[in-house]
């Protein structure tokens, strides 16, 4: 019952032709939002799902990507695609520095340290200008980006980005690199004893996740046309990534994809009808999943791999 390997390419090719149906703007926006969340949840899963280090500060890199792209585009007139790539690299580099220290911590301590990092990043962006009497991050005013492209442009940008991330996770899952991450998750001391440089692998994957999240942040900035610290550094984004990945199944390729898809659609369809009770409903759904499918939807299915 594992989701077959051909499912990914088929869905990708089907999605390529969606604009031929010339759907309304609302559907484009909904699809882009789904792609954004699938991408973020998959990127989060790469570090936290595979190594078991639950990152509560992933939104920090989302915010950094948003702001870097916004600043590059508005202050330096750097083209969009170049901006998002630089933003991703910047996120990745910052993550190497942060990861060197936080990745020494385990369990809840890692979670708290990363949460503190993301909150600190938010505060820096919020208060930098006032503190140093300059106009750079624009504080709580936020930054407005140029409005240039149509929906189809963002649709394909998101589609390419999310497909790349999911394919990357697919490749890593079967690679030597992936085995190192799984070994670290299961028994870090044993991994060291088996010759795995755990520190290097942990920091590498953390940086890779930050790179990917940073790129999505960059796309988000241009897509939203307006960003502010309280929005793009909101801890709720991190929590969303965690919930979506847990819902679908962490440490798997398709888990976060399914989780992010189901919850984004649910949020759109049910959330707009049950305006006041939606969060409550979501809580109940999550409880049911955690209690009855502790490995998430796809995780519970793939357990059958061992039952012959």
């Amino acid at each position: 019952m594992r989701i077959k390997n051909w499912a990914g390419p088929v869905i990708f090719f089907a999605l390529l032709f969606v604009p031929l149906l010339s759907p309304e703007g609302y559907y484009y926006r909904t699809l882009c939002m789904i792609f954004l969340w699938v991408g973020l949840a998959s990127a989060w899963n790469l570090t936290s799902g595979f190594t078991g280090y639950i990152d509560f500060g992933a939104v920090g890199y989302f915010g950094i990507g948003n702001y870097a792209t916004a600043l590059f585009m508005t202050r330096a007139n750097v083209p969009f695609f170049l901006s998002i790539v630089i933003s991703g690299i910047l996120s990745g580099l910052i993550a190497i520095f942060i990861g060197r220290y936080t990745m020494k911590l385990r369990g809840a301590y890692f979670g708290i340290a990363t949460l503190a990092f993301a909150e600190a990043a938010k505060q820096i962006v919020l208060e930098f200008d006032r503190t140093f009497k300059v106009r750079f991050f624009e504080g709580s005013h936020g930054i407005t980006l140029p409005i240039a492209h149509n929906e189809v442009f963002f649709y394909y940008t998101f589609l390419v980005a999310v497909s790349t991330v999911v394919f990357l996770v697919f490749v890593i899952n079967r690679s030597k690199f992936g085995y190192a991450l799984k070994a670290i998750k299961e028994a870090e001391d044993s991994a060291e004893l088996a010759g795995i440089n755990t520190r290097r692998y942990k920091v590498s994957v953390y940086s890779l996740t930050a790179f990917l999240i940073g790129i999505f942040g960059g796309i988000n900035a241009y897509w939203s046309t307006y960003i502010s610290p309280l929005d793009v550094f909101s801890v709720l984004h991190t929590i969303n990534m965690i919930i979506m990945a847990l819902f679908g199944g962490t440490g798997t390729v398709m888990g976060p994809v399914v989780g992010a898809f189901v919850l984004s659609v649910a949020n759109e369809v049910i959330g707009s009808r049950l305006l006041y009770t939606w969060l409550l409903t979501l809580g109940v759904i999550l409880l049911v999943v955690v209690v009855f499918l502790p490995r998430g939807i796809t995780g519970s299915l793939s357990l059958k791999r061992f039952k012959r």
Partner: protein, 242 residues
């Protein structure tokens, strides 16, 4: 010739001196046993040698090179690893994948290069029948074998075995002892921590006895077992008098 030399090793946890001035040599072709009462520092000694703990004082020299400041993966790649007393397999991976991980990273091989070697190791250790099972689903004896399989997978020449034979029935114990003899023939250097004296005397040529973190005796098994201090500290009766 000395392969591994442990020099004046001292390690404290707070006020507890887990190891105090421990010195011994491991030579080519050795099967060295380390015995002593619970809490004597045997597992700590292993953890210091492989780099899980850093010693407070003293040095560990492996083939002429100090390894006291190296992390376990470096020590492993140089040629020393250990099997843990409390088994820690990579639970969600299959038995075969567990061994593959050790081969891929310990010897820096690709997955394809590792596969035949993993099968060979599992065949040798008699766990090939469970190779596709998740490592959660196999018996304790097989999990201990799996620990050993991983240690062999890394290609390390010196293997520290921490109570790898504990809790086995007589037949399994005999099989375990045969595996150790065979490993010696294949050129492995083994350091064994064990409480089962029958196994220790059956396979070890030399013993080091630890008590309260200090080395209290060293020598061939018969002499050590008749040593007054060893009997008082650990054995309790002259089990080796025959």
């Amino acid at each position: 010739m000395s392969v591994l030399s442990v020099q004046n090793l001292t390690k404290s946890f707070g006020a507890l001196r887990a190891l105090q001035d421990v010195t011994f040599e491991v030579r080519e072709g050795d099967v060295l046993g380390i015995i002593g009462p619970n809490g004597a520092g045997k597992t700590t000694l292993f953890n210091v040698i492989v780099g899980i703990y850093r010693p407070d004082k003293g040095d560990i020299v492996y083939r002429g090179r100090s390894i006291r400041n190296l992390l376990p993966h470096r020590v492993c790649r140089l040629g020393i690893t250990k099997t843990s007393q409390i088994v820690h397999p990579f639970l969600t991976l299959s038995v075969r994948e567990n061994v593959l991980v050790a081969l891929m990273f310990g010897r820096n091989l690709s997955r394809r290069e590792s596969e035949p070697k993993a099968d060979e190791i599992m065949e040798f250790l008699n766990i090939a029948d469970v190779k596709d099972m998740p490592s959660t689903a196999i018996s304790l004896q097989k999990r201990r074998r799996l620990e050993l399989a991983r240690a062999l997978g890394t290609g390390a020449e010196v293997i520290l075995m921490d109570e790898n034979l504990a809790g086995l029935n007589p037949k399994e114990l005999e099989e375990g002892m045969n595996i150790i003899r065979e490993l010696k023939k294949r050129g492995k250097i083994l350091i064994i921590v064990e409480h089962i004296m029958q196994a220790i005397i059956g396979v070890c040529e030399r013993l080091v006895v630890l008590s309260y973190g200090q080395k209290i005796a060293e020598g061939n098994p018969l002499d050590v077992c008749n040593d007054e201090r060893v009997v008082t500290a650990y054995l309790g009766e002259k089990i080796c008098s025959q």
